[in-house]
Symmetry: C2
Subunit: 647 residues, 2 copies
């Protein structure tokens, strides 16, 4: 046994590795690796903030009206008149939710998504439900936005319609690569498409409105055919509610600013709040005007031509340059909307992983300082959805927005509870929670009422969703969110349990190892075996070489060789009448292990030769690998590989 050196102090060295990742195809695709210290810290103003955060919300105007009409079409085109009152109701809901979220922004200046608000105010289970709901909806945002973007493009260029799945998947993969490179979310570049869309869509709606007022708007020329045969049913309440559910997709994305408050310039809560109100006003006006004009021109919902396309070519009197600009702008904003999910999904999943509800690997920031694994996961799942649903917006919509409204409800309920807690504080008193600081606020009761009312409204809408869209596919999401929540808790339980079992608290250090027994399995006597024997000698005197014998001639030859090369180490030959290799060896090791003393350790030394080419491994039974896998589960046994490189 080596003598022990007792030191009173532990030497600590710190070194910076000079390792510079080499260039490869990955460098070419996503750019050279960035140092952790290179992480950017940049804030943005209101104008750029609007451009960055509004794309998700504004882009929903590209399909919300279509989706209302698709439902109403079941009762014939006459039912289209109901679209206008429905959109008014949606705008009212928008106002309520905006007011609610504006309060959240001020309460959580450090960023307060539904996950954090629910975690701090409602507890673990609701926050995990919110997390699951949001993750599901991030995925759907990518699928729906990209599918709608492709639908816009194929409205202008019908030959694209047959390739829409391919086109959509290609777009998702392109976005994946761009996000793996790590796009700076801030920056004027991203503002250009948003403002371009805003300009062109306002021009389109404005021209339409002007021509309507002047009385020469007319109706859509050659509208697409109504795809579903109307049942000529009476317009029941269910149908209206169903159309309303579909239309509320217009609200998706308005929560984005509340997640990204930290990106704004100081005073950030104020700037973010104002930006959010601007955004909601623009969204409300746009959505209402589009629905209004759609009714006037008699547009027909269709998989082959979007409402925006029908509106633009009617407003501009043909498929001219302005028409193409409208389609282009709409496609761009939809892609930008999908892109916001590529920022949100990885960040949220990293947050969940940090809290121990998702695999820890998701917190790892890749070579470009982004959560690469989350980005790749999102792209893969969204592409899968697109393929599964044939890139049809109309088929994806029933799954969409439920997650968003679940998270709206939880966030507002959490806020209401927060105000109640604020009301319990004395004036001037402060209380710190994980995500924010509570300060006394005299008007807490009013604010609680606003958030409470918001929560009730969105809860009712969620219920309406569940009922009206259940059979169309909403059941998938309603099944998925609780399932994911359960998975999150199973993961959490594992991490907590593991930490407890590895913890050093109340841990009595085990005694010193005083005896080493070494077992050296042999398949033959060769240079690799001798290298292992040489190593074994450094560990202990108590070495047993073990050979599993199947063939007498082989055993005899091995014995002869061992006598001259085995350095006097004892050899045990185990007969294996059933020609099994691992089982008799494991049986023998177990027998030895059963007689183990507390301070004794058994080391299995596995000679492993390393062939020069990877495919050579197929030419050898990977006994070492299997042996290791099976021995890992036996306590008190250490496995040592002595590699012998074939040169």
């Amino acid at each position: 046994m080596p003598a022990l050196k007792k030191e009173s102090e532990t030497a600590l060295l710190r070194r910076t590795t000079k390792y510079q990742p080499p260039g490869s195809w990955r460098t070419w695709l996503i750019g050279r690796p960035l140092r952790t210290a290179d992480a950017p810290h940049q804030t943005i103003g209101k104008a750029v903030g609007l451009a960055v955060f509004a794309s998700d919300a504004l882009s929903s105007t590209a399909y919300a009206t279509d989706e209302i009409l698709f439902v109403l079409a079941a009762a014939g085109t006459a039912a289209f008149v109901y679209a206008l009152p429905i959109s008014l109701a949606i705008v009212a809901l928008l106002a309520i939710v905006t007011l609610s979220y504006e309060q959240t922004i001020h309460a959580y200046p450090g960023g307060g998504g539904a996950y954090i608000v629910a975690r701090d105010n409602l507890g673990e289970a609701p926050s995990q439900i919110a997390g699951a709901a949001l993750l599901v909806d991030y995925i759907l945002t990518v699928a729906v936005s990209v599918a709608s973007g492709v639908a816009q493009m194929s409205s202008a260029f019908p030959f694209l319609f047959n390739h829409r799945v391919l086109l959509a998947v290609a777009m998702v993969l392109m976005m994946m690569v761009i996000n793996l490179r790590g796009v700076r979310e801030s920056g004027a570049i991203l503002a250009i498409p948003s403002y371009f869309f805003l300009g062109i869509i306002l021009l389109t709606v404005g021209s339409g409105a002007l021509r309507y007022l002047m009385g020469d708007l007319g109706i859509v020329e050659n509208p697409p055919h109504l795809e579903k045969e109307p049942h000529l049913q009476s317009v029941a309440l269910f149908l209206i509610l169903h159309a309303f559910s579909n239309g509320t997709t217009a609200l998706t994305g308005i929560e984005a600013i509340s997640n990204g408050v930290t990106a704004f310039k100081e005073p950030r809560s104020r700037n973010a709040g104002i930006t959010m109100i601007w955004m909601s006003v623009i969204l409300g006006i746009l959505f209402f005007s589009i629905t209004f004009l759609t009714g006037k021109i008699g547009a027909i919902p269709s998989e082959t031509e979007t409402i925006i396309s029908q509106l633009a070519r009617t407003a501009y009197g043909g498929r001219g340059l302005l028409y193409l600009a409208t389609i282009g702008g709409t496609t761009l904003i939809l892609i930008m909307a999908a892109n916001t999910s590529f920022a949100g999904f990885p960040r949220l999943s990293a947050l969940l992983a940090e809290d121990g509800f998702l695999p820890r690997q998701l917190t790892y920031r890749g070579s470009r300082l982004v959560y690469s694994r989350g980005i790749v996961a999102l792209a893969l799942v969204a592409s899968g959805l697109i393929v599964l649903f044939g890139a049809s917006v109309n088929t994806l919509i029933p799954l969409y927005a439920i997650g968003v409204f679940v998270s709206f409800t939880l966030a507002q309920a959490g806020m209401a509870h927060r105000w109640w807690k604020v009301g319990r504080l004395r004036p001037g008193e402060e209380a710190t929670e994980r995500g924010s600081t509570l300060r006394y606020e005299p008007r807490w009761a009013l604010k609680m009422a606003i958030n409470g009312f918001g929560a009730c409204c969105t809860a009712v809408v969620t219920l309406v969703f569940a009922v009206t869209k259940f059979h169309e596919g909403a059941w998938i999401v309603m099944f998925l969110i609780p399932l994911l929540t359960l998975v999150f808790f199973a993961i959490h339980y594992h991490y907590r349990d593991l930490a407890a079992r590895l913890s050093l608290e109340r841990y009595g250090a085990p005694g010193r190892v005083t005896r080493q027994r070494v077992i050296l399995p042999l398949s033959g006597v060769h240079r690799g075996t001798l290298a292992a024997l040489r190593y074994a000698r450094t560990l202990s005197d108590d070495i047993t070489a073990v050979h599993i014998g199947m063939d007498q001639a082989e055993i005899d030859s091995l014995r002869r060789k061992w006598e001259s090369w085995g350095d006097g180490v004892r050899l045990v030959v185990l007969d294996s009448p059933y020609r099994l290799l691992l089982e008799p060896l494991l049986g023998y090791i177990e027998e030895i292990a059963a007689q183990r003393q507390p301070n004794e350790i058994i080391t299995i030394i596995v000679p492993q030769f390393v062939p020069r080419r990877w495919w050579h491994n197929f030419l050898h039974t990977q006994t070492a690998m299997w042996l290791r896998l099976m021995l890992l589960f036996k306590p008190g046994i250490v496995i040592t590989d002595v590699p012998y490189q074939i040169e």
Copy 2:
């Protein structure tokens, strides 16, 4: 360092393991494991021998005539008259090959397949070509025989036609399971279907012949439609040769007895030789009569009804019991024929593996004493072929029989060379080769002429095959056989090279290890880490714990814990600015390894905690696994896993 015990003698212990494999689903499927000592040794007589070995050869009468007619049909039904002279030529070829092989049986009483004959007389390359050709043809025998068996069944029960691929694959898998159980090849059980087929087919042919002689045979009622539109081309030589090529599939399987001489009772060469001549006579008569009667009844080749079916219902005047017995008997013999491949393929591949031309794993006999891996490989590849070719005999045939004729040619050429060597011996002199013993033989020149003529004939037929069936698919096999031969040699080179590099000849034993340096990578300080540290202390005083630091807070916490638990061992923290884990660690280890002295060894101790459920592994980065994979290639480094089981 432990003191060294010098012993003059090596202790050798021998133990029989009591390990009895436990029952499992495999036991249920393929039966309880057998001991090596349980291997059966049983010999058979001529009558059973005929039944066992003739199925492959005789079964080809079930499709050989069809395949001749399929080709001739290209020139219209009038060309069918050429079938009779073609079949006469094939019977003549059969006689030549039989004569040739009869001599092989006497020369190789220990079993002399083409592989062994070529190996002993022509050298390595021709023997590997023969091996590749035979392996390819074993696979095709399974595919063609099973496909033809299914075609017989669907002739009687047409509704089966649409499920033929599924049916054929199910049959192959069933045969795989039966063969994994290890059917005794000998035994009267196997004789029953063979003799049943022989009886019923002779009755069918006899009835047909009798009715023809009495003039009331008539022609096929409702014959199937001719599937290909005839081109009304003149009957060119090419077409005749093509039809001949297709017809020679009748000869496949006649070599079976020469491989299995050892199975016969003594005097085994004589018994095997006589059996082979019987078999050829029966085959010749059957094939000729079927072709003859086919012409008389005006049968039409078709994918939906076989010639045997048309002949049987014409001979018996309808689809009665005797008709069904004929179909049943034919199907049975075809399945038996496929079954012979399940015996031959694994045995030949084990032979090649023993010689080091295929992966050694193929020599492993499974729990039922059969070469399980070869059986499974054959079933998988044959099933793949069946699916690929839609279980159509007519599509598979162009690939078939080329391998057999290549091996015929090589075997007969080898035999001719062997007689030449015999001619060089003095009377009474003997010479021993790997597979047989050469003895002087006065009539060596005549025997050499017979084998030489056989070789020439089969070589010419092989050429005719290659030319006439090239564009139909023969090119696949003509490409595959050389490719496989190359792969065999690549494998052989690897094994030979490896043996040389591991060999202890002219090997100077390396010096003793005098110094151990231990590196202990740490991700955190917990019970698992401490177990690894405890083990490391038994190896050396020179221990360095290494932590890859990415986060300052984490580094500080680790340092504090290490100061109280690290037992004074020095800790090196490597900064990783690019957030990489393995690369900086590997860089550090390489640096240490570069300073290694000749008798120093570096041990990397990897603490590895073993979670309780396998899926928990997805929740942890498998650093230990990656580290091992990357370190395996660095000389002078030993990797030790210290598992810590979470209970």
